[in-house]
C-alpha cells in the first residue's frame, strides 16, 4: 500500500510528520459515530472535532463509552469480535474507515497507551522502544540508536535507564514501565497519542511525571486522554469532552467545563455529585 510506503519514508528520513496547516485541519473529525458490541450499543451518534496539537480530555462515569470512543480513533475496537461501527472519522483529513485503508496503517499514525502498562516481557528496554520501527522494516542501526534515545528522552525516561538498556522492560517500576510504553508509542512518531487512563495504576509521583510529560509532548503530538481524575483533566487538557451513557453531552474549553458548564449533567459530574 502506498500510504504505508509514505509512512516508512517519513520514519526513515526521521523528519517530524508534516501536518498540513495545523491550525486549520483538526486532528480528528468525528461524524455520527455509532458503535455496537454485538447487540449492545456503546456509542450513540457522537460528532465533534478534536483539535491538533492540543490535549483533549475525555471524562465521564464508568461504562459511559470513553475507552470505546478512544478505540474507535485507532480502529482498535475491530480486534473485538462482534463490534460494529457506523459514521465517519477523519484523521487530518483522511477518512480512517475507507475500505482501502488498512487498520494497521491507521494504528501506525495513531499511537496508544493503555491503563495498565504492557511492555513485551521477553524484550529488553531498547527492544520494547524500537519494536514499532522494526515492524516498519527499519533496520539502520545508527538510526535506531538515535531514535531510541530521542524517544526515551521524550518520555522522560532516558536518564533513568540509559545505563541498562538491555535489561528486560518488565524489570522497571510501574511508573517507568508506563513511560516505556509511551516511548514505544512515540518511537514511530505518531501524529496523535491516545491515552486510556494512563495514570490510574500509578502513585502520585509517577502520575505527576506523566502529567509533566503530557505538557512537553503536546507541542509535538496531539493527545487524547481518558481520565477519571477531575484534577488531572483540568490540569493537563485544553479541551474536555464529557460522555454519559454512550453520548457526548458537552464538549468545550476545559476551563468552561469545570467552572461554567452548560449542561446540568456535566455540572453534576464535575462537581462530584455522581459518577
Amino acid at each position: 500500500m502506498t500510504s504505508i510506503d509514505n509512512l516508512k519514508k517519513r520514519i526513515i528520513i526521521g523528519t517530524q510528520v508534516i501536518k498540513p496547516t495545523v491550525s486549520v485541519i483538526p486532528a480528528f473529525e468525528i461524524r455520527n459515530l455509532k458503535l455496537w458490541y454485538s447487540q449492545n450499543q456503546a456509542l450513540h451518534d457522537v460528532s465533534f472535532d478534536i483539535a491538533a496539537n492540543q490535549v483533549t480530555a475525555i471524562i465521564g462515569p464508568s461504562g459511559c463509552g470513553k475507552s470505546t470512543f478512544l478505540r474507535s480513533l485507532n480502529r482498535l475496537h475491530e480486534t473485538i469480535a462482534g463490534s460494529r461501527m457506523e459514521g465517519s472519522i477523519k484523521l487530518f483529513g483522511d477518512d480512517l474507515y475507507l475500505k482501502s485503508i488498512d487498520a494497521a496503517y491507521v494504528r501506525r499514525r495513531v499511537g496508544m497507551v493503555f491503563q495498565k502498562s504492557n511492555p513485551f516481557p521477553t524484550m529488553s528496554i531498547a527492544e520494547n522502544v524500537l519494536v514499532g520501527l522494526r515492524l516498519n522494516g527499519v533496520n539502520d542501526q545508527k538510526f535506531l540508536k538515535q531514535r531510541l534515545e530521542e524517544s526515551l528522552r521524550l518520555s522522560a525516561l532516558w536518564d533513568e535507564v540509559k545505563d541498562f538498556l538491555d535489561r528486560p522492560g518488565v524489570s522497571l517500576s510501574g511508573g517507568q514501565q508506563q513511560r516505556l510504553c509511551i516511548a514505544r508509542a512515540l518511537a514511530v512518531q505518531p501524529e496523535v497519542l491516545l491515552m486510556d487512563e494512563p495514570c490510574s495504576a500509578l502513585d502520585p509521583i509517577a502520575t505527576m511525571k506523566i502529567e509533566e510529560l503530557i505538557q512537553t509532548l503536546r507541542t509535538k503530538v496531539s493527545i487524547v486522554i481518558v481520565t477519571h481524575n477531575m484534577q488531572q483533566a483540568s490540569r493537563c487538557s485544553n479541551k474536555t469532552a464529557f460522555f454519559y451513557l454512550g453520548r457526548l453531552i458537552e464538549y468545550s474549553e476545559t476551563r468552561t467545563i469545570f467552572t461554567n458548564p452548560l449542561n446540568p449533567q456535566t455540572e453534576a459530574y464535575v462537581s462530584g455529585r455522581f459518577g
Binding site: F120, V131, A185
Partner: protein
Amino acid sequence: MHEIAPQYSAALNYRKGRKWPDISFKYLAMVGALMIVLLIVLVGYELYRSSSLSVHQFGFSFVKNLAWDPAADIYGALPFIYGTLVSSLLALLIAIPLGVAAALFLTEVAPLSIRQPIITIIELLASVPSVIYGLWGIFVLIPWMRDSFYPFLKSTFGFLPLFKGPIYGVSMLSGGIVIAIMILPIVTSFSREVLRAVPDLQREAAYALGATHWEVIRIAVLSYAKRGLFGAGVLGLGRALGETMAVTMVIGNSPVISASLFAPGYTLASVIANEFAEATTDLYMSSLFELGLVLLVITLIVNAIAQLMLRQLTNGASAKN
C-alpha cells in the same frame, strides 16, 4: 492469658467445634497425597527388587549393552532406550509444530462459532483407544507410507543417512508418526491453555503499534508463550515415552540401532509387553523388570523437567502482571 467473659467463651467453643471439618478435611487430603507418593515409591522399589538379579548380573553395562539374546541369556537395553528416545523425539518434531499451529488457529484465528466444535473433536481424539490407532497404522498408514511417502522421501532426501536403506513399512518413522498422531490432542489442548493465558493487553499493545495479525501472534503471543509451549511439548514427550500398544504394532520390533529411519526399531514399552509372557528364565524376567525401571526413570526425569518449566512459566507470568 486474658480472662474470657462467659458470654464469649460459648461462642469460642462453638467456633472450635466448627473447626473440626476443616481439620479432618486437611488430614484426609494429606493422606490422599501421601498415598500417591507412596504408590510411586512402591512401584519404583518393586521394579528395583524384581530386577535385582539382572542388576547384579550386568551392572551398569545393562544400559549400554547392544545385545538382547534370550537364548544365550544375554540382555542389553541400549537398542530399546534408543528406540524409545528416537521414536518419541520424532513424534515431538511432528506433533509440536502441528499442535501449536492448531492451538494458534483455535485461539487467534478461528471464528468463535467453530472453536468449541473443533475443541470437542480434539478431545474426542484423545479418548480413542491406543489399539485402534495401531490398527489404523498397520492397515491404512503403513501401506500408504510404504508405497508413496517413503519412496518420495528416499528419492528426495536419500543422500541423508536418515533416509537410506530398504523400506519395509514398519519402521522407526512409522512409530514416530503414530505416536505423533496420538499425542497431538494433548499437545494441542495444552498449547491452547498456554496461549489463552497470554493477556489480551499484550495483543492490544502489538495491535496498537500497527502490527498485522501475524505480527501480533509473533511478537505478543508466541514470544510470551514460548516457554509454556515448550512445557506442552515436554508433557507430550512424557506421554510419547510410555505409548505401548500402537507403537508395538507399527515399529517393527527388532532390537537394532540404525541411522536410517526406515529401519525397524523397538521401544522399552513394546519389548516388555511383547516378551513378559515368554520370559522363561529368572534372569530374563528380571531383565524385563529392569527395562521397566529404566523407562520409569526416563519418564520421571522428563516429567520433572516439564514441571520445573511450567513452574517457571507461572512465576514469570505473575511477576509480569
